[in-house]
């Protein structure tokens, strides 16, 4: 072959051909390179949400633009149609169902109004509606502190981040009426950058610290329960930590069992209220769902709250977590049957049986407690001394604490039937002990017969016995709802 130079000299078109080929190869290479670049650039945007929002964005709708499936399933917590044998998704007036609760809580705001709440979607509406928050019209303050908002809204993480926990809790409930307007939502459990689960409520973090544990060290599976445990736990307001602040505390320092929490309250000489009939220093259990769940079989097998209450679902070829938080009795196939290969009816019946059997003894304890309160009143009326009553009242306190611990968590009898049964059994023995001592005391005053219990067969009758003027309370509330609440919403919208 001749040198290239000669070849080109002889036939100039070969030179042009060589030139053209080079142009084509470089052009094609360039195209390929730019195609690779383009597809790599795609990767930066594919799987990346196009909407950004600030940290602690309280409006779940904004999050929902990026996560529509999760958001729309969350919206279904507004569906109140499901009803199980004892509970369900609708508002259930528990005082109507169990009028004796009015007497058990006499002197405490729960005797005015206690309903089984609806889904997270209604958290703001329900706390505004309940008689327990009072009717703060004009200068009259609400009987509750701002601490009550803590678990009701996705506005809270932002407010706490800005003002600190104590700053947020300070003041009476109506002060933040226009600030706390979004129901429980995305920001309560999720980190806006990574969507990882996060703990937004200081009380749970502090409770972990009080036990010498660090909540930032827990696993994802534990977080799938702990985000719920930010609120679905026993708590109380401690007035001694910071002046003028009712500080939210989970009484877990000694542990989370009924006895350990009781010991904590006893050591702190704490009582929620003094009973209006028996004058006993009472404790109110506030839905200790998480604590009771911890004692159950499912918890010890590592099953989290979300596993049953937020099972996976699939839609259009996508698998995701159902954010319609509800009773798993309404999602047996996805919640139970992933592990338990039994008929749906059989599984539901299993749950109902546990609930029924626990309820059976709970009512026994309830009746004993009612008698305790009226017999104690009879003893006071006969001139009993405080020194004679103090131990009896302590038994009443302990017995009712057990009853409330079992009754206040609506899922307890399923989450941990053995523990709930044990708690009620020990409550019965304490109530029986109280009544035995009361009988002796009353006998010493010459009262031998049965102490009469007034007619408390309906909510209205029981509330009259407890000395409540329900007509006034309801009227004030409806005025508040008509005149004040719309203003709150208007102010909130302006921001």
């Amino acid at each position: 072959m001749k040198p290239l130079k000669e070849l080109i000299n002889e036939r100039p078109w070969t030179g042009w051909l060589l030139y053209l080929i080079t142009v084509i190869v470089v052009f094609a290479l360039g195209m390929l390179a730019s195609s690779v670049m383009e597809r790599r650039a795609e990767a930066v945007f594919a799987y990346t949400p196009a909407v950004t929002f600030p940290e602690n964005e309280p409006d779940s709708k904004v999050w929902g633009e990026v996560f529509p499936r999760e958001y729309y399933s969350y919206l279904r917590t507004s569906d109140t149609s499901f009803r199980s044998r004892y509970n369900g998704a609708a508002l259930i007036d528990m005082l109507d169902e169990y009028p004796s609760m009015v007497i058990l809580w006499a002197g405490y705001s729960f005797s005015k109004d206690y309903k089984q709440g609806r889904g997270h979607f209604y958290s703001i509406e329900d706390i505004r509606n309940t008689l327990r928050t009072g009717a703060p019209v004009g200068d009259a303050p609400s009987p509750q502190p701002n601490t009550c908002w803590t678990c009701k809204s996705s506005n809270v993480p932002g407010l706490i981040a800005r003002e600190g926990a104590a700053g947020f809790y300070r003041g009476t409930w109506e002060k933040r009426g226009a600030q706390v307007v979004n129901p429980i939502g995305c920001a309560d459990c999720h980190d806006p950058k990574t969507m990882n689960l996060r703990i937004t409520r200081p009380a749970l973090r502090e409770a972990f610290e009080s036990q010498g544990k660090d909540i930032s060290q827990v696993s994802h599976q534990e977080l799938r329960s702990l985000v719920c445990a930010q609120c679905h736990v026993e708590y109380y307001f401690n007035k001694n930590i910071i002046p003028d602040v009712q500080y939210l505390v989970l009484p877990w320092k000694n542990g989370t069992s009924l006895e350990q929490i009781e010991k904590y309250y006893d050591e702190a000489v704490f009582s929620d209220w003094t009973h209006a009939i028996s004058k006993a220093p009472m404790l109110k259990a506030q839905h200790p769902d998480f604590e009771v769940y911890l004692t159950g079989t499912h918890a010890s097998r590592g099953v989290s709250c979300a596993d049953c209450h937020m099972p996976f679902m699939s839609e259009g070829g996508l698998k995701f977590t159902d954010h319609h938080l509800q009773s798993p009795l309404n999602s047996i196939s996805r919640s139970c049957q992933v592990c338990h290969r039994e008929e749906t009816a059989r599984l539901i019946e299993d749950v109902y049986q546990r609930q029924e059997k626990i309820l059976e003894n709970r009512r026994v304890l309830e009746n004993l407690l009612i008698k305790c309160h009226f017999e104690a009143k009879a003893a006071w009326d006969k001139g009993a001394q405080e020194s004679q009553m103090i131990e009896i009242l302590n038994y009443i306190r302990k017995a009712q604490w057990r009853w409330d611990f079992a009754a206040a968590g609506h899922g307890n009898s399923f989450h941990s039937p053995v523990e709930t049964g044990r708690i009620i059994a020990s409550g019965i023995s304490m109530a029986a002990e109280a009544r035995l001592r009361l009988a002796r005391l009353l006998a010493s005053f010459g009262v031998g017969g049965e102490v009469p219990v007034p007619d408390i067969s309906t909510k209205a009758k029981a509330q009259a016995v407890a000395g409540l003027n329900m007509k006034n309370l309801n009227e004030e509330k409806s005025l508040f709802l008509k005149n004040i609440v719309p203003d709150w919403d208007k102010q909130a919208e302006k921001k």
């Binding site: 072959m1 001749k2 040198p3 290239l4 130079k5 080079t22 190869v25 470089v26 290479l29 360039g30 390929l32 390179a33 195609s35 690779v36 670049m37 597809r39 790599r40 650039a41 795609e42 990767a43 930066v44 594919a46 799987y47 990346t48 949400p49 950004t52 996560f67 950058k193 990574t194 969507m195 699939s314 070829g317 996508l318 698998k319």
Partner: protein, 196 residues
Amino acid sequence: MFIKLIPPDRWKLPVIIVSGIFTGLVFFLFYISKASSYLGDKPETCVNCHIMAPQYATWYHSAHRMKTNCNDCHVPHDNLISKYYFKARDGLRHATVFTLRREPQVIYIKEEGAMAVHRNCVRCHSDLITDNRLLTINSELMKNRISRRCSDCHRETPHGRINSLSAVPWARVPLPESPLPQWLRTEKQAERKQKF
């Protein structure tokens, strides 16, 4: 022969520049396509093409992530030559399809790939199918074993059943980031990356 390609003195400078551009372009292509990564076994290599994200995400959430990477199952392991031959052939086909934007919305494994996967199942799990006790209990075992692939029944191992390109919208997958070095990227890009 090579000597004949050397251009006349007059042309040397432009030829040096042109061939430099040409070589540089080839290197650039190597760099942005992460060509060297294809020699290794890292699962991250497979999501160089972002359409593999569902496969990566489902594998990452399966038990198999503890012991296997993509290549453990998806390329033959009988010998090194067959491994790299298979890899090169499959890889070039994938690269071509991806470059021409001919990827289907739902990716199914091809016959040859399925066989490679099957042999790899057996490679690790041979104890499960050569148990003599099973042979005596189940008379059809030999027949069933030979006529079927593991994945005929174990259909959800490990990728689950649904694997369309949009099956895992927000999965966090180590997709390649911008090839630009940090100092060349604008603030906004960096910020965006940080956000999600």
